[in-house]
C-alpha cells in the first residue's frame, strides 16, 4: 500500500492537463464542458476562461505573470463560486449544507486550537490575541465565528464578489467588523511576507490545481510552532457516491460540477504533502451526516469529508 502513494502523488504533480483527467475520470464530461461555456458567457468580471482544449497557464510564483493570474487557483473553479456569490448568507439557499456543516467544523477547530495554544476551553473568547487567516473565506462564514471567538482574522478569497459580500455582512455586527478581508491569494500573502498563528483553509484544496504548492504557501504563512487546518473531501468511491452523485445530482445540495473527483486528495496524500511542507499532522477527523436529524457531527470516519490539524515545525 505504501509504495502506491508516491506513484499517486507523482501522478498528481504531473497533472498538467486538467481537462485530460476531467475527460477520463468523470463520467459526466460532456455536461461539465457545456457548463464551462455557459459560465464564460455569464461572468464578465472573472478573467476570461482558457480554451478547454489547451492546458491551463503554468501557475507558480516564479512565472513572469505575477499580476493577474492567481497562482495555484483554477479560473474555472473561481467562476463556479462567483456564480452563486450573492446567496452566501442565505441559510436556506445554495450554501445551506455549508451552513449546517459550519458549527461542526468550528467545534473541531476550537477543540484542537485551544489545546495547541493552551487556551481555556470554557472561555467565550479563547483566541484573543492570535492572528488567524481564513484562506478561501468565501462570504466569511468561517471568519465571522472565529472573530467572535476573539481571534484577529484576515479573510482572503480570489473572487472579488465574495469579498464584497463578506465585508458587507461582517459590518452588521461590531464583533466581526474588525475582520480584514482581501481579494488575494495565499501566494500573494507569501510575497507580502505575512505570517499568522493559525492558517485555515477549509474546502479549498480540492479546487486548487497544484495542491502541493498550495500547501507550501500555507506552511510559509504559518509561524513556526503555529497551526494549519485543512479540510477537504477524500478521493474514495464512497465520496464519489456521496459528495458528487448524491450531493450534486440527487439532493441538489451543490450545483452540478462543483467538485471533480480527480481533484480530491486522500488523507495519506494530504499528510505527505503537508509533511514535505514542514507541517506535521497531529489530528484528523471526519464529518458524518445523519439524514434523519439533518445534522452533521464529528466522527472517526474519514472516508468522505475530513479535516486535518497540523503544526508547523519550529526551526
Amino acid at each position: 500500500m505504501a509504495f502506491k502513494l508516491p506513484n499517486q502523488l507523482r501522478a498528481l504533480y504531473t497533472a498538467t492537463n486538467y481537462h485530460h483527467h476531467h475527460r477520463i475520470l468523470s463520467p459526466l464530461a460532456g455536461a461539465s464542458q457545456s457548463f464551462v461555456f455557459s459560465l464564460r458567457r455569464l461572468f464578465a468580471d472573472v478573467p476570461p476562461l482558457s480554451d478547454p482544449s489547451s492546458a491551463p497557464p503554468p501557475l507558480y510564483p516564479h512565472s513572469t505573470k505575477t499580476s493577474l493570474a492567481p497562482s495555484s487557483l483554477n479560473q474555472y473553479e473561481l467562476a463556479k463560486f462567483a456564480a452563486i456569490a450573492e446567496t452566501w448568507w442565505d441559510s436556506e439557499g445554495p450554501f445551506k449544507p455549508l451552513h449546517a456543516l459550519n458549527p461542526t467544523r468550528l467545534a473541531f477547530i476550537r477543540s484542537t486550537l485551544c489545546r495547541h495554544f493552551r487556551r481555556d476551553s470554557y472561555s467565550a473568547k479563547p483566541f484573543e490575541g492570535l492572528k488567524f487567516v481564513d484562506v478561501g473565506c468565501g462570504g466569511g462564514i468561517l471568519s465571522e465565528p472565529l472573530a467572535r471567538m476573539g481571534a484577529t482574522v484576515t479573510g482572503v478569497d480570489a473572487v472579488e464578489k465574495n469579498i464584497k459580500i463578506a465585508r458587507l455582512h461582517a459590518d452588521l455586527d461590531p464583533s466581526t467588523s474588525t475582520i480584514e478581508y482581501c481579494c488575494t491569494t495565499a501566494e500573494k500573502l507569501v510575497e507580502e511576507q505575512r505570517t499568522f498563528d493559525a492558517v485555515i483553509a477549509l474546502e479549498v484544496i480540492e479546487h486548487v490545481a497544484e495542491p502541493a504548492e498550495f500547501c507550501k504557501s500555507l506552511a510559509t504563512l504559518t509561524v513556526p510552532g503555529g497551526a494549519t487546518v485543512i479540510s477537504t473531501i477524500n478521493r474514495s468511491i464512497r465520496a464519489y457516491a456521496t459528495a458528487i452523485i448524491a450531493a450534486e445530482y440527487l439532493l441538489h445540495w451543490l450545483p452540478k460540477g462543483t467538485h471533480q473527483w480527480s481533484s480530491f486528495l486522500t488523507p495519506e496524500e494530504l499528510v505527505l504533502i503537508l509533511q514535505r511542507a514542514s507541517i506535521s499532522v497531529q489530528e484528523m477527523a471526519g464529518f458524518a451526516y445523519n439524514p434523519l436529524t439533518g445534522r452533521w457531527s464529528l466522527s472517526d470516519d474519514i472516508s468522505v469529508n475530513f479535516i486535518a490539524f497540523g503544526t508547523k515545525n519550529s526551526q
Binding site: G93, A107, P145, P174
Partner: protein, 432 residues
Amino acid sequence: MPLTKDLNVAIIDSNPALSSGVSIKKEEPPDPRVSTVTPATISIFKEIGAWKYIEQNRHAYFDKMQVWDYTGLGYTRYNARDANKEVLGCVVENRVLLSSLLSCLQSADFRKTIYPSRLLTLHRNSSSTKVDSHSSGLPLHGQGNLVKLDLIDGSSLHAKLVVGADGSKSRVRELAGIKTTGWNYSQNAIICTVEHAVENQCAWQRFLPAGPIALLPVGDNFSNIVWTMNPKEANDHKMMNGDEFIKDVNHALDYGFGPHPKSSMFGDGGIFSWLKADVTSASEFFEIPPKVIRLVSDRMMFPLSLMHANNYASKNIVLIGDSAHTVHPLAGQGVNLGFGDAFALSRVIAEGIAVGTDIGEVTMLKKFEVERKTANIAMMAILDGFQKAYSVDFGPLNILRAAAFHVAQHVSPLKRGIISYASGEQRLPLFS
C-alpha cells in the same frame, strides 16, 4: 455558565417586585397562585443556585398522589418510592418562586439591567439574509443585526436576541407575527387556599363530570384547590358565600357525584398480580382526602385553553414558556414546560457561543425549537387527551377509564414510567 457570563442582559418587566423585591410575611396564609414544580425543575433551580432561597420560605414536598373519578370504579395511588424517588414534586407559591429567582439574579455576577416598563414595538432588519453586493451605498435599517425595542415609558434599547417570556398574551409573539393554534376548553378554573385540621401530605385529584378538582398541599395545614368546571358553575362557585363553598368542596372530594372506589384488598391486583410485585403503592388502600375546615383566601377564576405557537423562533426572536404554549392545569405541567424551555435555551445559547455563532441567528434558535417542540407537543397531546377522555360521561368510556385506573395502579412498569414522565424526565411512559 462561563461561556455566557459576558452576555449583557436586559429584563423588561413592569412588575414592581423586580425593583423593590417581593415581601412575604411568614404569618400570612399562602397565596392561591401556586405551581407544582417537578423534580426536573427542582434540579434546574438547584443548578442555578436558586433552590436554597425557596427552602427559606414556605414550600411543600409531596411524595404521594391519589387520582380517581366520580364513577367509583377505580383509583390509582402513586408513591415516589415506586420509581425510587424521594418526592413526586413540590408545591410552591408563585411569589416565592419569583422572589427566589430575584435573589439568585441579584447575586449573579453578569451584567444585567432591569427596565420597569412594557414593550411597545420592536424593529428588525428585513428577514431576508441575502446581502446584495450592489447596495453597499445604502444604509441598513436599524443597526445591522440588532433589534430596536421601544418601551412604553419612552426608553429604547438594542438587542441581538429578544426572548419573549411574557405569558400567553405575549406582546413579543404578536410583534414577531408568530401565529398560534389552539382552542378554548369550555372550562374555567377556580383557585383558592383552604385549611385543614391536620397537615395534608398527599396530592389529590378527583375527576368529576364537569372537570377535575385538585387538592395540593402547600405547607403547614394549608392546601391549594384547583377546581375546573364549566364557566357558569365556576362563576356561581366564585360568588357563593364561603361556608357553602367549603361544603361543596368537601362534597366534591368525598361522596359527591358518585361512590368511593373499592380498595384493592391485600394487594390483590387480579390478573395483574404478577406485575405489581415491587411497587408499594399498588397495595395501598383508597383514602378519603382530609376535610377542609376553612377558606383562607379569595377565590380567583380564570379561563382554560390550549395554545401552541406555530414557531418558537424567528430572526432575533425566540419564545419560551406560556408565550409559546399553554396547557390544561390537570397535571401541573405548564410552568414546568416553561422552565424546561428556559434551561434548554440557555444551553443552546452556550453551545452557540462556543462556536462563535451570532446568538440572533435563526439556525441556532431553530435547534432550540426542534428540541423543545417535540417534548412540549408530546406532553400537550397527552394532557389534551386526558382532558377530553374525562369530560364525557358515557358508560363504556367510564368503564375504559376505570380499566385505565386499574392498569396504572397495578402494572408497575407503567406506573414507574408515568411517574418519571410526569417528573420531567423526558422519556415517554410507554416506550422507554
